[in-house]
Subunit: 317 residues, 2 copies
């Protein structure tokens, strides 16, 4: 058995997971990152101990602990950056292993979610696959030959910051044209707000949010587009256009077997998937040759715990 | 020993290569592709036989033959496309093995050049590396864990068609914004011609080409930039800007150990390399972390034969 931990900006979710990917027991606690890293890591260690006690397992049955973090870790288990948590160079593995005496493995949360999809979900059994988490930003989880891939220096799979065009606003990273400024929920919200502000007010989006542009979210936009709303469709079409450019770049480069779409945007489901597949067929470079199968990710909230547990499993085997 | 064959649009170059990468004997013949694929493949087979005879080796000393093609082959050794040669679905391996009775391995020419750099040149000993061949187009040769990587469907490493912005002219592939329309020799020539046509005539480029815009080539532009010419420097700066965007996208995605710059543009040497490294340092996402080492490719014309021979070596081992 393994314990998987999904360390987020708001909550720390932990779960006991068996070899077959069954989540046997879960427990969570608020992150409260402003307390500083020591208090947060104390809470992570306490969650692990609580789970072992409450789920009535022996500690030596836990082969490993995996953690998905919203940032970057090095190969020695140090957290290099976690911007959301204000962490920089934190010896997370060391602080956990000293307290718990169980092997700890750490990787980026999108990478970990990709591993969950590879082990039990949309990328199961595939040779190479990539999960795109289309949320407030865009994360990437790359699986190569059955293992997570984070590059030689651990700075790879930052797919959200691939530059694919020129945009009307800059990315948080300071650059212009990042993939996530075109195809994340933030991107589609900003573009819809822009359209409406520029006078495209003949839209049911405005009714749904009672005239408050700040209340616009990706679900409202997709729902409106499904109802045939012109402005919402413009925003969705633009997102699809650039999402396909990003997918096209990935295919031209890595040619994976599967590209899975996850994160909040993927809640638009088959509606989104069909638009993406249609556009991709028009767009792909070798028209007559097979290319990546584009699918919806299977796991929603559980991907973090499940993938982290599998990170532990891959680490110790 | 191996025989490496560099199948180009103009010439077919073949060489006898030992395990240590020493080219012992070479011979070449014009491609004359308009004769049709059978005549070309007859000539390839004849080159192999001639080399064996003229270099006075026994046929059974040749462990394998590798071929780099300006196109795409499948895993069974069929050439799927070779646009320059007018080839489509040609059973190249079969037609050679039946005639020669030596194992034949086929891959894209940029991939093969990447293998030469990995075995003996600028990417020697690295875990993961990418060669960018900056010529009339841009090719990519990806080495992952010591083997060439062409993706699951064999359509990967088409780095030249990664979309990175919006450009004033469309790519041959029909799309707008491909990497190779910004950072190839074709790209810098077209942009320089545009600058001059738009009235930037205060440039020594015009003297060097005697006023004939059609005579402008990448060397003239880089030479003029090195001499401080304003227009040439604008063109070089633009190429460097977009070359670094392409490199940045590769680093964000695959995080390789080395990125080697080859092809005609790389003849600008240290001058280009320094500009690229300077711009990349400003551009990279994780400022304080190490990322790919950017270097000049080591081999010029020999990369094709050498890499193809090594493709044979990797194939049979």
């Amino acid at each position: 058995m393994y314990i998987g931990i999904d360390l987020g900006g708001t909550n720390i979710a932990a779960g006991l997971v068996d070899d077959s990917g069954k989540i046997l027991y879960t427990k969570s606690t608020p992150t409260l990152a402003t307390r500083g890293y020591k208090a947060v890591i104390d809470d992570i260690n306490k969650l692990v101990k609580d789970i072992i006690e409450e789920a009535k397992v022996e500690k030596n049955e836990i082969k490993a602990i995996g953690i998905g973090i919203p940032g970057l870790a090095d190969k020695d288990g140090n957290v290099i950056f976690c911007v959301n948590l204000g962490w920089e160079n934190i010896p997370l593995r060391k602080m956990m292993e000293e307290e718990l005496n169980i092997p700890v493995f750490i990787d980026n949360d999108a990478t970990v979610a990709g591993l969950a999809e590879y082990e039990f979900g949309s990328m199961k059994g595939c040779k190479n696959g990539i999960l795109l988490t289309l949320g407030t930003g865009i994360g990437g989880g790359i699986i190569l030959n059955g293992e997570v891939y984070s590059g030689v220096h651990g700075v790879g799979s930052e797919i959200g910051h691939m530059i694919i065009g020129e945009n009307f606003y800059n990315c948080n990273c300071g650059k212009n044209g990042c993939f996530e400024t075109f195809a994340s929920s933030t991107a589609i919200i900003k573009y819809t707000q822009k359209l409406i502000s520029e006078g495209n007010t003949d839209t049911i989006i405005l009714q749904k949010v009672e005239g408050d542009l700040e209340k616009i979210n990706a679900k409202v936009i997709f729902d409106s587009a499904k109802e045939g709303d012109r402005v919402a469709k413009m925003a969705v079409d633009r997102l699809v256009k650039y999402l396909v450019i990003g997918i096209f770049n990935i295919v031209n480069f890595m040619d994976p077997e599967v590209i899975a779409l996850g994160g909040g945007i993927s809640n638009a489901g088959e509606y989104l998937l069909n638009l993406v597949k249609e556009e991709f067929e028009k767009f792909k470079y070798y028209k007559t040759l097979p290319a990546a199968n584009i699918v919806l990710a299977q796991f929603k909230n559980d991907a973090g715990i499940l993938g982290a547990a599998m990170l532990g499993k891959h680490g110790v085997r």
